[in-house]
Symmetry: C3
Amino acid sequence: MLHLGDFIAALGGELIGDPQLPVERLAPLDAAGPSHLSFLSNPRYRQQLDASRAGCVIVAPAMREAAQARGACIVADDPYLYFARATQLWKRSHARSTGPAIHPSAVIDAQAVIGEGVRIGPQCVVERGARIGEGTVLKARVVVGEDCVIGARCTLHPGVVIGADGFGWAPNAGTWEKIEQLGAVRIGDDVDIGANTCIDRGALADTVIEDGVKLDNLIQVGHNCRIGKHTAIAGCVGIAGSANIGAHCTIGGAAMILGHLTIGDGVNISAGSFVARSILKPGLYTGIFPIDDNAAWEKNAATLKQLHTLRDRIKALEKKL
Amino acid sequence: MLHLGDFIAALGGELIGDPQLPVERLAPLDAAGPSHLSFLSNPRYRQQLDASRAGCVIVAPAMREAAQARGACIVADDPYLYFARATQLWKRSHARSTGPAIHPSAVIDAQAVIGEGVRIGPQCVVERGARIGEGTVLKARVVVGEDCVIGARCTLHPGVVIGADGFGWAPNAGTWEKIEQLGAVRIGDDVDIGANTCIDRGALADTVIEDGVKLDNLIQVGHNCRIGKHTAIAGCVGIAGSANIGAHCTIGGAAMILGHLTIGDGVNISAGSFVARSILKPGLYTGIFPIDDNAAWEKNAATLKQLHTLRDRIKALEKKL
Amino acid sequence: MLHLGDFIAALGGELIGDPQLPVERLAPLDAAGPSHLSFLSNPRYRQQLDASRAGCVIVAPAMREAAQARGACIVADDPYLYFARATQLWKRSHARSTGPAIHPSAVIDAQAVIGEGVRIGPQCVVERGARIGEGTVLKARVVVGEDCVIGARCTLHPGVVIGADGFGWAPNAGTWEKIEQLGAVRIGDDVDIGANTCIDRGALADTVIEDGVKLDNLIQVGHNCRIGKHTAIAGCVGIAGSANIGAHCTIGGAAMILGHLTIGDGVNISAGSFVARSILKPGLYTGIFPIDDNAAWEKNAATLKQLHTLRDRIKALEKKL
């Protein structure tokens, strides 16, 4: 059982309250009870703070008085980061015994190189020449193809496929001639890859995922893409071949990135947006058809198809006046 | 071999025709032959009825005379529902011997709880603390993560991943700090989940899928979502974290739902639409860019980027007049 | 080690240069070194040719002089096709010893029919009545469901699911009644299917993928679709049930095709487009909301929701004048 004082000892922060208070759970403000630790990171939820029954709340210095007025609190410079570390402490403290480091049902080629402290779950397949860096975890049913390299401390969730062939075809009199994909995939350290996400091997050179990249579920990364350090990409995103994505970007869910273009460092793409051209300047970019009730949408969509004629009619009116 | 009379005996309905007629197949109207059973559910396909060579057609009472004029028919209040049940009868009648209830290649933790009559296919992984309700079927290669709960009579198709980590990261000086995902996934009874669909575990509380929900293939459900009873969601849909979706909704294929919003009961979202705000009122909602030949699209898309200036020019014209 | 002369001997073409030059790698123009073979297929990259350090470059006849001016070259009618075949020669020449044709961890039903020279990788599942044509390769973790048929010389990448149930449900007083999916999937010869792609079995008839079709990763093909010969479909595409797609089409990534419609032969759909109606005439079709910086998008999107009123206001102005 963790107590409030254990969090302070491990993570720092200033505790206003009883260090002996047992913490039975971490919980969101609106669901937390007297033996739960919660957090307030966004000042917009200030009202939830006042109403919360949480035993203790992690807050920023600016919220110290408000938090104190309702009970125990931990004051931390960045409450969300503190909360993240609290979940890690929680996980470590409640770790259960683990099975074998390499599950016997995993199929690992004799010529694969498996680093220190690697964990490989049931039904995984690691092919010839693949290398898995130290401390990396392959959950169940992960495939790492021939010659692909995974760095240290990565986590690959179930169903991930690293190193399937890129989609390379040369047209040949109405049929398609295979371009053999001779590259591999190189993944840096501290990369997380979500369930059923696919990263294809390069055609000639390698597909590259740099250190600290976080990929959510069901993402497609085409051959010869590069994703820069610490970029985070939400679920269902598709990235076509040879896209060059910078560092410290965020890409919202179900966005689609065309191939052979460049996205600079620090670019943020809104969920659902389609990126058809390079974007070099940091900032937030969006392209989404706004949803509406169907009848209104139908009227607007019909007009949309004549949009350029509307412009011409306005021009004509302007000339007349 | 089933005969027409067998359908009536099992499913009710009024047969106009010979109960001894053997039924070799169920078939759509346009492909059905003299020993096939077909159905007409949408009056728009009335012409297909007249032209069909089907041995017998399931029709609504309003179509009785038209159907009778061309041959045998089964009159049922809801022909589409009757047809659905006919497929079930067909499947039961043609069931083949089944293999072992739990395939020997499945990896099931000793601390998982498997209900009566559960079937678990090849290469499945059921982790510690997971519970599978009675009569549920896990097809090949399904992963059910630690502590996740599946109700009774569910079907999980190949490649489904239940309980991968939600995508939770706190920014930390340009890198991402992991928020451990301490919740699980709770799935109700009679839920169907399509191939390669992923449902992530909650961050603190659980991700919840209520009774009777039907999910198609390649769907992503983020952490802490709730999907209400009997909602049906078509393929390739993405649902971001903490979305709260009501009961009896339908969501068309490849729609995208942002997180931290509410969709009320009885809302229908058109395929391909992007939902960026809460929708509380039942009805049909759409947001799709209409497809056009590329040249026309280019002209309209270019104008679209100046749309608000067009509005200003109209305003200016109105003032002048 | 391959030499330039080996390419000419195997693939034809005219070599201008030393046939004894060893080729250590195939490489793109901008990365190639003196012992690498490269290619120029698009005249737009002419400048890259001049700057390239490649030992030899595959070029079209029109580029002969330019290529010759900088060093060795292979002149071929279609340099991209020649390059594709060069990758194949490379792969064949560098083939490593392979494991068993059928990996012992694969689960193959005794009533499945496996053709000559088929290779089945680790953790695959081939169910009863399935048939795999000669020379076809199932990479790791592929599922081929009951009675599904795969032609000759196909490649199915990891995580592919063939023959999961189509998404068929009849409404029944607020719940959904299962329509059993009694059809199968029939796949022709020389079909490639990318990682984690799903093709559902038909409801009554079969889902059909014709010869030479190429499907990328994470594609969903609904029940009773037909995809015509040599059509190529990029990643993340969703195709709803009963869509009938012609031969020699290309469909860009993340496009979405509604069901029960027809796409004729030779139609090209741009990436990210939503196809809600039949398209019978060959050509390029597009429907994408253009991305913009977020502030500009917000203004335009707000105006878009009143688009039809703008039209009315223009009409009113036109009448007044």
